[in-house]
């Protein structure tokens, strides 16, 4: 692993008295594709939102490039935020703007690119996710899968160092999903972008993820950490093997 760019230390997450994760610690190296796995309801998205400063941790801290976003001053916070891009589970595209305008928004706010340059960048980002020709459509006019891809394009508008993707391939067809995996690997290779991906797609996990952690609801924390293939074959925890091998819950009474 390269030098860590994200460091999560003894993070406790939850809401008020309700604790979702007791104490979570892990590191993500620069240029790594890191997957957060786990069954539904184990708090993957909550963990992500704690990492990017949308929720304040109950205890512990999450450092991005050495800075604690939850306790950073306003200017520091903005500096961190400019280095990350986030794709939300439901897309979260701005409904009143076209796809091109959605991508242009951060460019308009943070860069001095001339108008034609922003237009071109927006078109190129959309082309990367196979949405060429859809620049002028508004989110209401496109399908759920297109919405996800447009959201990924927007997350990468400023070519951030770290991109957080919350279930990028959910709802995508297998071809688009595989192309998305290739895109992630290409960007990691050429620009050294770090990806933190929440996903359930086993083929995608094995293709892109260098390392992963697996969260569990009962354990209130991480139950496995390592390379996906290792965990599949050698994890001592049957639940982890079950997840990676896509097996249903075993019968309560074993034969």
């Amino acid at each position: 692993m390269n030098e860590p760019i994200i460091r999560v230390e003894n993070l406790r997450t939850g809401f008020g008295d309700f604790v979702l994760h007791e104490s979570v610690s892990f590191e993500v190296g620069k240029g790594e594709v890191f997957a957060i796995l786990g069954g539904s309801g184990c708090g993957k998205t909550v963990l992500l939102k704690n990492m990017i400063g949308l929720y304040t941790p109950l205890a512990g801290r999450a450092l991005i490039a050495g800075k604690d976003i939850a306790r950073a001053s306003a200017t520091e916070r903005l500096e961190i935020l400019k280095r990350i891009g986030v794709m939300y589970q439901l897309g979260a595209l701005f409904g009143s703007m076209t796809l091109a305008e959605n991508i242009r928004l951060p460019l308009e706010e943070y860069t001095e690119l001339p108008d034609e340059a922003m237009e071109l960048v927006a078109r190129m980002k959309l082309e990367l996710v196979q949405l060429q020709g859809a620049e002028g459509l508004v989110p209401a006019e496109i399908s759920g899968g297109m919405m996800k891809r447009a959201a990924i394009a927007r997350a990468m508008a400023l070519d951030p160092d770290i991109v957080f993707l919350d279930e990028p391939s959910g709802g995508l067809d297998p071809i688009t999903s595989a192309e998305l995996d290739q895109l992630i690997l290409r960007l990691r290779e050429s620009l050294g972008i770090t990806f933190v991906v929440i996903t359930h797609e086993l083929p995608s996990i094995f293709t892109i993820a260098d390392r992963c952690i697996m969260l569990d609801k009962e354990a209130k924390g991480i139950i496995a950490e390592g390379k996906p293939a290792d965990l599949r074959d050698h994890s001592p925890n049957p639940r982890v093997r079950q997840f990676f091998n896509r097996k249903a819950e075993p019968e309560a009474v074993a034969a």
């Binding site: 701005f94 409904g95 009143s96 091109a100 460019l107 943070y110 860069t111 001095e112 690119l113 001339p114 034609e116 340059a117 237009e119 071109l120 960048v121 078109r123 190129m124 980002k125 082309e127 990367l128 020709g133 620049e135 002028g136 508004v138 989110p139 209401a140 990468m156 508008a157 400023l158 070519d159 290409r186 290779e189 050429s190 620009l191």
Partner: protein, 373 residues
């Protein structure tokens, strides 16, 4: 290292634009115009973009290169990118500059005047049609509900009645009181020279009971509950909750509209009575400062107004309540997709509600005149 650009004049058959440093979204902005100027300075010569000293080139940097490559140039004066590190080359090779040359998708031209008028007319027609259709549908659902009162979701209706009625009491009291005070004070000042301050009681009771009480309450209701209904149902529409109701076999009009219309209409009457009362009390307090005792004010008001004035005002308010709740729900159901659409629906609910109030109030004025109420 910061991004930089240097133009080397034509030599050996080509001019060179040398890019260097870190090309990213923050640094290429200033270079963009320079690069184009360099291209224009060499209209007939081949141009080589030398990227051998570029140490970082992300999407924005690639966009700059694509933009240079996609320019239409005469034969023999092509643009060529050289020396770009392999890892960035891969990013550039994803794009076909010529395909990106053909401008963005063309915007639809603004239609001619006549077409716009026609479209506006058609929209108005559609809107009126929807209004009438909705009126029929809602009336049928209401009639059904009256015949089958057990089918109404009373729990929902009570919750809505609390929100639209009870929680509106403070603002209705505030506006009612203010209106009574202002009306009493201004007319008392005007009547004082004639020694006719006592007759302010007539003016106040007549105006409040017949017109201002119902009207002000209705406008407040349109702003509070009409908008709330449109926003709530609109959000349900956006979240496909309305679709879910439909596929469960539950008619959205019966399920969402009937409860709201019943609850809001039922609440309008007590709210108007409350507004009337508070307005009259406000007026009475002002009259005290003009040396008219409470009892005199009360007797004057009671002897002058008739039951018809009061009941007429209440009858109007029932119709107002029906219209405000109905149009709020209609706008909610008409919501298209997206967050902005919910805002448009809420706005439209308030505006249509107030327009309808004014319109119906006019009809009632004519009606009462001929019926001599």
């Amino acid at each position: 290292m910061a991004a930089a650009l240097a133009l080397q004049p034509e030599a050996g058959g080509f001019a060179t634009i040398a890019l260097s440093g870190r090309l990213d979204a923050y640094s290429v902005g200033p270079l963009w115009a320079e690069a184009h100027a360099a291209l224009r300075a060499n209209p007939r010569a081949r141009v080589v973009v030398d990227c051998s000293r570029v140490d970082y080139c992300d999407g924005a940097g690639v966009a700059l290169l694509v933009d240079l490559l996609r320019q239409a140039r005469p034969a023999g004066a092509e643009v060529e990118v050289r020396g770009l590190a392999e890892r960035f080359r891969k990013l550039l090779d994803q794009f076909d500059p010529k395909a990106l040359a053909a401008g963005g998708p063309a915007l639809a031209p603004r239609p001619p005047f006549l077409e716009r008028v026609g479209r506006a007319g058609a929209r108005l027609y559609d809107d009126l049609y929807a209004l009438v259709a909705f009126l029929g549908e809602a009336s049928a659902a209401l009639a059904y509900a009256v015949r089958h009162p057990r089918g109404i979701r009373w729990g929902d209706a009570l919750r809505i009645a609390e929100e639209a009625g009870v929680n509106a009491l403070p603002i209705v009291a505030l506006i009612g009181f203010l209106m009574g005070v202002i009306l009493a004070f201004q007319s008392a000042v005007a009547m004082k020279p004639f020694g006719a301050e006592l007759f302010v009681a007539n003016l106040l009771s007549l105006a409040l009971l017949r017109e201002l009480g119902p009207l002000m309450t209705a406008i407040l209701l349109a702003g509070r509950s009409g908008a709330a209904f449109a926003a709530e149902i609109g959000t349900m529409k956006v979240n496909q909750e309305v679709d879910a109701l439909t596929t469960m076999g539950l008619d959205p009009v019966r399920f969402l509209v009937v409860t709201r219309v019943l609850a809001a209409t039922a609440m309008t009457v007590p709210l108007v009575v409350f507004a009337d009362l508070i307005g009259l009390i406000g007026g009475a307090l002002v009259m005290l400062t003009f040396d008219i005792p409470l009892l005199a004010y009360y007797k004057q008001a009671v002897s002058f107004t008739q039951v018809g004035d009061f009941v007429g005002g209440l009858a109007k308010s029932v119709v107002f309540g029906l219209l405000i709740a109905g149009v709020g729900c209609l706008r909610g159901l008409q919501t298209e997709t997206g967050a902005a659409a919910v805002g448009i629906s809420a706005t439209s609910a308030v505006v249509s509600g107030i327009v309808l109030i004014v319109f119906v109030d006019g009809i009632f004025a004519v009606l009462f005149f001929y019926l001599d109420i």
